[in-house]
Amino acid sequence: MKCSDAEKLLSAYIDGTLNDDDKAKFEEHIDNCSACRREYHIMNAMIVSCRKLGDIDLPENFRHDLHERLIKEKRLKKRSIYRFIGKYKALVAACLMLAVVLGTAAGIGLFGGSPKRSASTAQSQKASGSAKDEKMISNDAKLFSAPSSPALDRKSPENGTGTANSSDNFVNVNISKAEYDKYSKDIISFIESIEGQKISSTPLQYTIPKKFTSEFISKMKDSFKIYDVMVTPADSAPENDDARPKGESAEYKAIIQININE
């Protein structure tokens, strides 16, 4: 056996995965070759030391922080469907309108079966989500095909699913059906007054500029006597809007989710 062959077998010899024949040849070689014997001793010592490196402890705040992030993630998941509807509100409305028109047309015998199209348009828009990330997580993912991850970029907690930002406040308003019936119009008109524009439908999710968060909450509590309002404040942007560079404030939102309890 040549030294170059012995070098190739060294790793497997240490791991004990050589067949009997190779093992015998390898041992015979290092018995007679001091250079390879030395290589073997060094490599072996190195591997033994690796095993001894041991673990370091999890940071104390690890579980607590993870818990907070999981709650946020769950909320984002739940919201993404609403956000989708919100984002494509105009498109969805147009499609519905089209469906009505086509439906009417079909009714009077001009077309057949066309209304289905509106739904598939919406579907294909939605599908463009976080395909990149999903590929990475897939069981078939190749090691080096991993796409970029936001591991150290805390400002983008989600990938491609929409417009939410970790700098946004999340406001959960929990109300009963009765309260909703009683106040929904007032809540909407209050949001309209902040937004300065009319809201045509009555969805359960609204977006207002972040700086109105506290005003919104006090309005809920003081005027409507709705006390079950939970705010998850942003974690990475200054709470005070004035502390931020000019022109940026439009990016930060408060996302209001109305939850109607049974």
Partner: protein
């Protein structure tokens, strides 16, 4: 609560945070430590391991159960680590033999000890920790999985989704590279007169 893992996975799929936390509890320390060995930095390891846990929660529906849950978890961990290291490739940290706790002392060879004893010193472990960071991520991950955590070839093949032949040759190459790094830094203190 001591549900079998399968049950915890099922509940986690439905977004059950409590179930997910019990599930991930058995893995989070290892996730954190793999990230620590891969990056050599506690803060980075923290960021990466939090990110990994969130990804697992987010994509647990994608876990088909073809492999063990652990294999899938460590695959995501390895992927995120390697990906992060590749992103940083542009600004490679120059090799300095220092550590956060202070100056690192190059171990002096103890010529009276047998090689095995001399090399098994704490200093060598420390040298390995540092030299490991000089290896390309694809080799670094081999040392981490094989020599630090003792995974078998087959397990590594599943975690990294590469075939056994590649695993074997990469481990061989990774060890050679690590040894070269140690010797280049004169960190092994080898004594040629020792026969």
């Amino acid at each position: 609560m001591n549900y079998p893992e399968k049950e915890l996975v099922r509940k986690s799929r439905n977004g059950d945070i409590e179930a997910f936390e019990s599930l991930i509890q058995s893995y989070e320390k290892r996730i954190f430590n793999i990230a620590y060995r891969m990056t050599g930095d506690r803060e980075d390891a923290y960021d990466i391991s939090q990110e990994v846990c969130i990804k697992i929660y987010k994509f647990i529906k994608k876990f088909r159960g073809d492999s063990s849950f652990g294999t899938w978890v460590y695959r995501i961990t390895s992927n995120v680590c390697i990906d992060e290291l590749r992103k940083r490739k542009a600004n490679v940290i120059p090799f300095t033999i220092t550590n956060p706790e202070g100056e690192y002392e190059i171990p002096v060879a103890d010529r009276d000890k047998l090689p095995d004893e001399a090399y098994e010193s704490k200093e060598l472990s420390e040298a390995i920790r540092l030299c490991l960071l000089q290896l390309e991520p694809k080799y670094r991950v081999m040392i981490v999985l094989k020599d630090i955590y003792g995974y078998k070839y087959e397990e590594i093949s599943k975690i990294l989704n590469i075939n056994m032949g590649t695993v074997k040759s990469r481990i061989n190459r990774a060890r050679k590279l690590l040894k070269d790094e140690l010797e280049a830094g004169n960190l092994l203190g080898t004594n040629p007169s020792k026969k």
